[in-house]
Amino acid sequence: MGLLTALEKEAIDKGYPVRQVWKIWCPTNSSHASYDSHTIEDTGDTNIESRVVCAGERDYNCYNLSIGNPGDLELPEYTIVLSNADGRFYPTRSDSFFKGPNTSYESLPQGCYMTHDIYVGYHKLPSEYIGSIISVEYEDTGNANSMTSALCTIKTEPTVLSRVLELEWDEDRHANRSFLNYASWVLDGAS
């Protein structure tokens, strides 16, 4: 039994249309306590303008292939290129920003994350992706004041795993975990 269900395989066999959905989730305020989603492309929704110029690819590997040669463990980075037709990404002299769809809050792109899902018919395939935006690069349009319609290259990496795997152990790494009991560390009443 594989990852695909019988219905999903049947849908692939029968040539059901494939739908890809990219969304950018941006914080609604500086606390990043909640996020709004903004669909940048839904290939199954004709009401949404097609903006993804290059859908990119993701590579996956695994470690510990062999006792003699373990290989390596790499994060599946994901880069897409899209047309910035709605102008939500825009650079300033110091940085770039992303304007959320429902609020006036403007976040650094690095504060946003992107999701990418594939459907065959109504069936969501198991290649779900959620990635933090690492960088946004803009096509040079000759007009630095307007990046509307410029091509944006958005580079992402898996949101949670990248933040874990790229960390280093240090004294604070485990000192701030809320589920550990630190109250009893200080002895002899001399806190």
Binding site: E57, Y63, N64, L73, L125, Y129, F179
Partner: protein
């Protein structure tokens, strides 16, 4: 059987980490959870500084953490050397300035809680009555760790001098437990309101856990039930990904990022999860053989020494460790001389002549000749010079019998059945087929680390089993390219 249901709950009580723990066993004191400890070593009562504990000795249970020690009655000890140690270690974390020390007169400058620095007398306190120090009562402080220091604290009428100590966490359990515990502990999911199952493929860890801890359930390792297999020390400054890779080398499972962007830990001998046939393959299939990937010659005997240890042979005088770590006897369980047990002295030979012809011998570390030489040395036959790596001590581990990642007993205590380990080594000598195939979206039917059945490829036999080691999904043309390597073992 799988991980305990509470294992994957970050919000559960601390018991979810059963089997994985980091604890400091401060000899003479209670056991504390946590990475650091602050302990008052002396205080100023009514203007007279007093030591609060005249016999504080602090060692770690795990053997490698002899970080901090305070001893009394060290008159005549070479104090200047200790003073240098104080200065060196403290500079890395706490700015305790090195002074010119002399016997009986140590006044290092310590950092107060308000950030100021002042001199604190560390040596020569009376432990009992607060009187001026007597000549035969000394308190010396040894510093070895990177993160240790002395903190002074002025709390008004009373001032305290703290001995501060911190150490990286220690994880104790099966590899599946240790890896998942590290990831869960390091993560801060609040930012994204996620749950563990959003970033960890928990079912893959459960399967691997079953294989690693249950000898009756298809284990490739032979770890008996409820006997955790390794002690893993984190290291300050080491990327967490490197720690995970180190731990994963103690088992044969595949660690990776799955196509659902979750951390997966695939059991190597899982049943085939999908069938790959020619129906959905796009383009050519690129076959190759991977004999340059392998050891092609194995001729070895194992079971000598204590580095590859069989938990089934737990000495009768040492308690078997329980899942929660209780009853762990540390090094005591590793001193068994298994050379007397002929059932553990296994001789296996395997040579792939074609590969040897092509690449030369790629022999595994540790040959029968090495073992014989070591055995003679252990048993008193010293007709030949022992290998340079061995010192003339009977209990010296014979390290070249195992692979490097099993050797560092300061880092881990490998506890794998020797017979299983040798079987794995033999697998490494088998020539493998590799195929790179490009499929339509049917390629999403299996993930990296999954074992698949390859069926119906022209000219490549009727059917063979393989593991998917790499996957690339192109979202422009919706193709999935997978690398399949023949599975052995």
């Amino acid at each position: 059987m799988a991980m305990p249901s509470s294992w994957w709950s970050l919000n559960a009580s601390a018991s979810w980490r059963s089997g994985c723990r980091f604890k400091n066993d401060w000899s003479g004191a209670d056991v504390y959870d946590g990475p650091s400890i602050n302990r008052v070593i002396c205080y100023d009562g009514d203007g007279i500084w007093q030591g609060v504990d005249s016999s504080m000795t602090i060692d770690s249970q795990w053997g490698a953490f002899h970080w901090v020690r305070q001893n009394g009655n060290l008159a005549g000890t070479s104090i200047p050397a200790l003073g240098v140690a104080i200065g060196q270690s403290s500079q890395k974390h706490y700015p305790v300035y090195e002074e010119t020390f002399s016997e009986g007169d140590i006044f290092p400058q310590v950092k107060a809680s308000d950030g100021s620095h002042y001199s604190q007398r560390l040596l020569g306190f009376s432990s009992s009555d607060g009187t001026e120090p007597s000549d035969d009562t000394y308190y010396t402080v040894y510093y070895k760790p990177d993160y240790s220091g002395i903190e002074g604290q002025d709390t008004g009428d009373d001032s305290y001098c703290h001995l501060y100590h911190s150490q990286p966490p220690v994880y104790y359990g099966y590899p599946a437990q240790v890896i998942s515990a590290i990831v869960m502990e390091a993560i801060d999911i609040d930012d994204y309101s996620l749950t563990v199952s959003d970033f960890i493929d928990t079912s893959s860890f459960d399967d691997s856990y079953d294989a690693q801890c249950d000898d009756t359930n298809g284990s490739q390792y032979g770890y008996p039930r409820d006997h955790p297999s390794l002690v893993a020390h984190a290291k300050y400054g080491e990327p967490i990904v490197d720690t995970l890779k180190r731990v994963s080398r103690h088992a044969w499972e595949y660690l990776g990022i799955g196509i659902n962007t979750k951390l997966v830990y695939r059991h190597r001998s899982a049943d085939a999860v999908a069938v790959v046939n020619s129906d959905h393959i796009i383009g050519n299939v690129n076959f190759s053989y991977m004999d340059d990937f392998l050891y092609n010659k194995i001729h070895m005997r194992m079971g000598v020494g204590r580095l590859i240890y069989n938990w089934d042979e737990t000495p009768s005088d040492g308690p078997a460790p329980n899942l929660d770590g209780s009853g762990f006897a540390g090094g005591d369980t590793l001193t068994e001389d298994v050379s007397e047990d002929t059932s553990l002295q296994l001789l296996r030979s395997s040579t792939i002549s074609e590969s040897v012809t092509k690449y030369g011998e790629r022999i595994v570390p540790g040959t029968e000749q090495d073992v014989d030489r070591a055995l003679r040395f252990r048993t008193g036959d010293r007709r030949r010079t022992p290998p340079p790596s061995m010192k003339p001590r009977k209990q010296q581990p014979i390290q070249f019998l195992s692979h490097p990642y099993f050797n560092d007993i300061k880092e881990y205590q490998p506890c794998q059945k020797t017979s299983k380990y040798i079987e794995q080594l033999e697998n490494e000598s088998e020539p493998l087929r590799s195929a790179e195939i490009t499929q339509d979206l049917y390629g999403l039917d299996y993930d990296v680390g999954h074992v698949v059945t390859v069926d119906g490829f022209t000219g490549q036999g009727d059917s063979w089993t393989a593991v998917c080691t790499n996957k690339s999904i192109d979202f422009n043309n919706l193709t999935v390219t997978s690398t399949l390597v023949e599975r052995v073992g």
